[in-house]
């Protein structure tokens, strides 16, 4: 078995340790004897996207995001088709915002998004920064997801969220929602990076991809003591009861 993992714009969208998600997916495949091909995709380094099993897109600086955005508009249709066809997408922070309809910047300018989803992100001044703990709505065990968020934009939508905020801000600091789920596409503000300390989330993405490609319904278990020790350390340090 093998999976093609596309790392979208690794040289432009590369903030806050998001690279760790790729490292994590790759290792957890390899440890199970599943070949993981990491395929970088970027400006001047374009490769066909059709064959991808998992797509990862992080956030970048304003400068990086502007370059990405004008480039990515040319791939809007193929991305939409892939998402409808249940390819696995993990989009974090800027990547999550891109998938929506609009981004309204600090000056009030409307910037068009990829319009794959109809949500809106508004820059409201003041960044939402800190450790975050949510309860996932995917039914994954354990229920908690832990991470670190750092975003200026507030995202508003009626999509199914990825989680309910226990500690931190989430999509907008108001409605307790964090992230978005549509088919196998996940958008979230969780850096940390997300996957290494949430191995249940990582395996969820790997299994979805293997299921789509090979009809697999179960993954071989791994020794995740260290992963959950790090997960629990965040709960211990930053849970509200403490």
């Amino acid at each position: 078995m093998e999976l093609k993992i596309y790392h979208m714009y690794p040289d432009l969208l590369n903030l806050y340790g998001d690279l760790g998600n790729i490292t994590c997916l790759c290792q957890r495949c390899e440890w199970r004897g599943i070949k993981a091909h990491i395929i970088p995709f970027s400006k001047d380094r374009e490769v066909p996207l059709e064959e991808g099993d998992i797509f990862f897109m992080g956030g970048g600086s304003d400068w990086g995001q502007n370059i990405v955005f004008s480039h990515l508009l040319g791939y809007q249709r193929i991305m939409e088709e892939l998402i409808e066809d249940e390819a696995v997408f993990l989009s974090i922070c800027g990547g999550y915002q891109f998938l929506g309809a609009t981004y309204i910047d600090a000056a009030g300018n409307k910037v068009r998004g990829l319009e794959i989803f109809d949500y809106e992100t508004v820059s409201e001044g003041g960044r939402l920064i800190g450790n975050i703990i949510t309860k996932n709505v995917l039914g994954l065990e354990p229920e908690t997801l832990v991470g670190f968020e750092n975003h200026g934009g507030r995202t508003y939508h009626d999509q199914k969220p990825l989680g309910r905020v226990m500690v931190g801000y989430g999509n907008n600091g108001k409605d307790q929602k964090e992230g978005m789920v549509y088919k196998n596409c996940i958008g979230t503000y969780l850096h940390g990076p997300l996957l290494p300390k949430n191995p249940h989330m990582a395996d969820h993405l790997i299994l979805k991809a293997l299921n789509r490609k090979y009809g697999l319904s179960k993954l071989q278990l791994l020794d995740d003591r260290l992963e959950y020790a790090a997960h629990h350390r965040v709960l211990e340090l930053y849970s509200p009861t403490k």
């Binding site: 690279l19 600086s61 670190f148 790090a230």
Partner: protein, 470 residues
């Protein structure tokens, strides 16, 4: 005209010194930015007094290498018998600069050499007019403090615009070398292709042309985005280096270097600190020293004798092993320190301390941007201990870098983790702490050394008293 003798000024100095005294003697803390902060509350223009008292001024800014370059320059200038004022301990915001002045306060200095935080540069140069500005590099630092290197770059660029100054620039960092567009007097330094250069790209650095945003082509990388680059679209490339390290050889401890300048064909130089990043720091200080007219032979000699005790890079000799402490604070630094470990063939153990206090950066995700995979090239590594508030995160990073979990040990308590690493039967123990852990670790090590030397003198005394038969 600033009154360096007004009542208000003296009150400010007195208050600052009192704060410093309380901090050091009563609270037993590190004298840092606090005394300067107190003094500036009372006399906000105190930096201008500093400006007037130093005949010539050099500011060092950029992401990495500020503290080492500043300390090395201070050492070189002082070795020539000149009077020099510096913030040697890394407190690099305006208050920190003032604190360093409060500690000495001579009537006049020949040179002021100050490291300045990228975020404070604009504020500092309003008061302190530099004759030279050294810009080392732009990497991503503690993330939640600045977020973007483009901002640091732009802030410094804007602040430099109105200044009448000479720029000493790292030719090998495309962002830094693009400062030549400011059309100041520019001096470029750098490190040529050498045995540690590589063609392997790191993943995270920005490698786009600062003038046309096309992808830069590299002939080699020295570290991060530092290397030999050119833009095939607009021709942007490394400017010729006035001062260049041409050869780098590992010679435990430190590096043996060769350098050339416009006037010198090739000269030898020793610098006792490992890592290609230290070669750059050495080159930066060397360039400034020669540029300001110091004699080459004397500069080489004082660089060879340089050592500093800050906990950022410090070696302690224990009876049975060496203990080496190196501060790690950002992705590029961590990756490079691990790379430098691979040159040391000694049997070793390693302690990594990861904290998430505000001064470390509360977001510890940066360890995933670091090339921790370099750990796999380190030979004779017996055991790795992880400590600090986020010990598991460090261990997890090492696991995903491919390090066998069986070699990883997690212990929150810095004291007991240190105890364990010192008890390992190895020739050298490496300790890599983040910022807030450095001081604590250093104290613990020194306490241990006192303990062991007490034990040794006890042993010596006991041996003296043993009466041999006959």
């Amino acid at each position: 005209m600033i009154q360096g003798n007004s009542l208000r000024y003296y009150t400010a100095v007195l208050a600052g010194k009192t704060a410093s005294f309380i901090l050091k003697k009563v609270l037993k803390g590190e004298a840092s930015a606090m005394p300067g902060k107190v003094a500036m509350q009372i006399y906000p223009n105190i930096l201008q007094v500093v400006d007037q008292r130093c005949q010539k001024k050099i500011l060092v800014t950029g992401t990495n290498g500020k503290t080492t370059t500043t300390n090395l320059l201070h050492h070189i200038i002082k070795s020539q018998g000149l009077r020099v004022l510096s913030n040697l301990r890394g407190a690099n915001m305006p208050q920190g600069l003032v604190s360093s002045f409060l500690n000495h306060q001579d009537a006049e200095y020949d040179w002021g050499v100050f490291e300045v935080d990228e975020g404070s540069f604009q504020e500092v140069v309003k008061h302190l007019k530099p004759d030279y500005v050294v810009v080392t590099n732009f990497f991503r630092d503690q993330l939640d403090r600045y977020g973007e290197i483009e901002k640091a770059f732009q802030d410094i660029f804007d602040a430099l615009k109105p200044l009448d100054t000479t720029l000493i620039l790292n030719a090998d960092d495309p962002l830094v070398s693009s400062f030549k567009s400011l059309k100041k007097r520019n001096i470029f330094y750098g490190v040529g292709e050498n045995q540690f250069s590589t063609l392997e790209e790191g993943v995270i650095e920005s490698r786009f042309c600062p003038s046309c945003a096309s992808r830069l082509e590299y002939d080699y990388f020295n570290y991060g985005q530092l290397g030999g680059y050119h833009c095939s679209q607009c021709g942007f490339t490394n400017p010729p280096r006035e001062y260049e390290i041409t050869r780098v050889e590992y010679s435990d401890p430190g590096y043996h270097l060769k350098f050339k300048t416009e006037n010198v064909k090739s000269m030898d130089l020793d610098f006792s600190y490992d890592g290609i990043f230290n070669t750059y720091n050495c080159c930066a200080a060397l360039s400034v020293a020669l540029e300001i007219g110091m004699e080459t032979g004397k500069v080489i000699e004082s660089i060879g004798r340089f050592e500093y005790h800050l906990g950022r890079m410090e070696t302690f000799q224990f009876p049975d092993k060496l203990v080496k402490v190196v501060l790690v604070k950002n992705p590029i630094g961590l990756g490079e320190v691990l790379k430098s470990l691979s040159l040391d063939g000694k049997v070793k153990s390693l302690l990594m301390v990861l904290n998430d206090n505000p001064a470390d950066g509360t977001d510890i995700s940066w360890i995933w941007d670091a090339q921790v995979e370099n750990i796999l090239q380190v030979n004779n590594l017996e055991k790795i201990y992880c400590s600090g508030r986020r010990a598991e995160d460090m261990a997890l990073r090492l696991k995903y870098a491919g390090q066998s979990p069986a070699t990883l040990n997690v212990d929150y308590s810095m004291e007991s983790a240190l105890e364990k690493v010192l008890n390992e039967d190895v020739e050298i123990a490496y300790i890599l702490p983040t910022y807030t852990a450095v001081f604590h670790i250093r104290e613990l090590i020194i306490a241990r050394m006192r303990g062991s030397s007490k034990f040794l003198s006890y042993l010596r005394e006991s041996l003296k008293n043993i009466k041999l038969k006959g």
